[in-house]
């Protein structure tokens, strides 16, 4: 499992920029990012190499941050790649809260960040289904 930062953003001009600006100044490179939003607020989710330090600098700048766990899975970057993963979860009756994906540079691989309702059960199902579950080191060194 890998660590993910969740940042509370008020639906106000410039808040996301401010959060990313804080990270830039602290020289923290973002590995993966997604934004969930409603009409009133948003949740910015990030995977970064130094989650604890990132959390610290964000909190120092007044952001509300939670560090949680997600699963990162490598898939082949071609049609049906993601489907394979979802099939495994579906077969095991695992519900997904959310997922986001990104394509790796210079490699024929895409990475999917998954947050199942029950993260332990999800992880087990993926491993049993022979999915390419990535370690923290693998994700951070992308």
């Amino acid at each position: 499992m890998i660590k993910q930062l969740s940042i509370f953003l008020e639906n106000k001009k410039g808040r996301m920029w401010k959060a990313l600006d804080v990270l830039e100044k602290a020289e923290i490179n973002i590995r993966a990012l997604s934004l969930a939003d409603t009409s009133d607020f948003g949740i910015l989710r990030l995977v970064v190499p130094e989650p604890d330090r990132a959390r610290e600098v964000l909190e120092e700048n007044g952001f509300l941050v939670k560090v949680g766990e997600v699963i990162a899975v490598g898939i082949t970057d071609k049609p049906g790649g993601l489907n394979k993963i979802l099939k495994i979860l579906n077969k095991s009756g695992i519900n997904l809260e959310y997922l986001y994906a990104f394509v790796e540079q210079n490699k024929n691989r895409a990475i999917v960040v998954l947050h199942p309702e029950n993260i332990d059960a999800g992880l087990e199902a993926l491993k049993n289904g022979n999915a390419d579950v990535l370690s923290e080191e693998e994700v951070y060194s992308i």
């Binding site: 969740s6 953003l9 808040r15 009133d40 607020f41 949740i43 007044g62 509300l64 939670k66 947050h115």
Partner: protein
Amino acid sequence: MIWNEEVECMADEDKRKLQLKRLQDVVKRAYENVPYYRKRFDETGISPEDIKTLKDIEKIPYTTKTDLRGAYPFGMFAVPRKEIVEVHTSSGTTGKPTVSGYTRGDLEIWSECMARGLTMAGVTDEDVIQNTHGYGLFTGGFGVHYGAQKIGATVIPISTGQSRRQMEIMRDFGTTFLVVTPSYGLYLAEEFMDDGMDLKDLKLKAIGFGAEGWTQEMREKLEEKFNAPAYNIYGLTEVMGPGVGIECAEQDGLHIFEDHFYPEIIDPQTLETLPDGEKGELVITTLTRKGMPLLRFRTKDITTLRRGKCKCGRTLVKMDRVTGRSDDMLKIRGVSIFPSQIEKALFKIDGLEPHYQIIVTRPEQLDELEIQVEASQELFSDEVKELVGITRKIEERVHSEIGLRVNVTLVEPRSLPRSEGKAVRVIDKRDL
């Protein structure tokens, strides 16, 4: 401890006799020396001689803030200006400020009332009082100061602001009694904790708070954060300043110093006097004030009066916590709402910080009520549905408290304005 047992524990009959004598005296002085009162009495067709019983006070017309403004600056003084040794004014946020003038004797009464009140809260000449109320035209700072001096406590006249300095002094000088407005107290606690200070290490024995509306939940937060009991101090500039009524150790209502003030409760709509135990607007007559006597001054504060001997031994009437102001009452879609009701509902939610703002709008014909609440580490969740669930839960709590649907918005921590005086809780954007 009781500062002045003779008057604070006076038998009802003796008290009423004293009050009647003083009422007749103040009415006479007001009539003879203040043109405003002479005119009002003559217009109403009454004379000071018509006051034969305490009940006769109901014949006297009310005095309002507008009347005081009309007499700006010194028109309400009942003595030559040279006998006035100090003046204070209201903040003037709702219009021209009202002026309050004090003779040397009036200041002595003020000191006495505050000394009684601080004694109720446990202050003695051994204590170190950190007075964060502003010193200046505002009565808060000086009122507390006079009472503390009368007792012989050590006063730190620090006023509001400079939270870092407040913290250093509180720790280094060994403050035992802190005087704050509730919102400033909570703000200080937050700042102190941010600086890594353990509030439990302080020598704080008790807190005196006043000058703005509060709820029981807010008191509990203040007590919890500072680990000390907190007592409410009530007063208003027009009548004197802090010290009109103060809570005793029972924390169940504020004793009004009836030898100096005669309280009544009226219905703010019909203006009829209400019996003890009924909720309405507090009206005060100053019984002993020489510089600026006030007859039946409408405070706009909503409360209830309760009589009977208190467990603390005092026989002084008690007023309940002020639950609102007859003028900060919001009319939303025709329903009367006090911000304190909303606050009460908010504080029932675990993990909610005491920082909120109420915004009233009227996008079409209907009033909309939005409540902005600061999200906290405890409330925040990584999942949208949970966050939405929390706002729904807050909306439901407020709905069941006030009977109206509201929209709750979570905002980022520290994004709502912090006050160093009276907190601005309501923003009414309606063009009424």
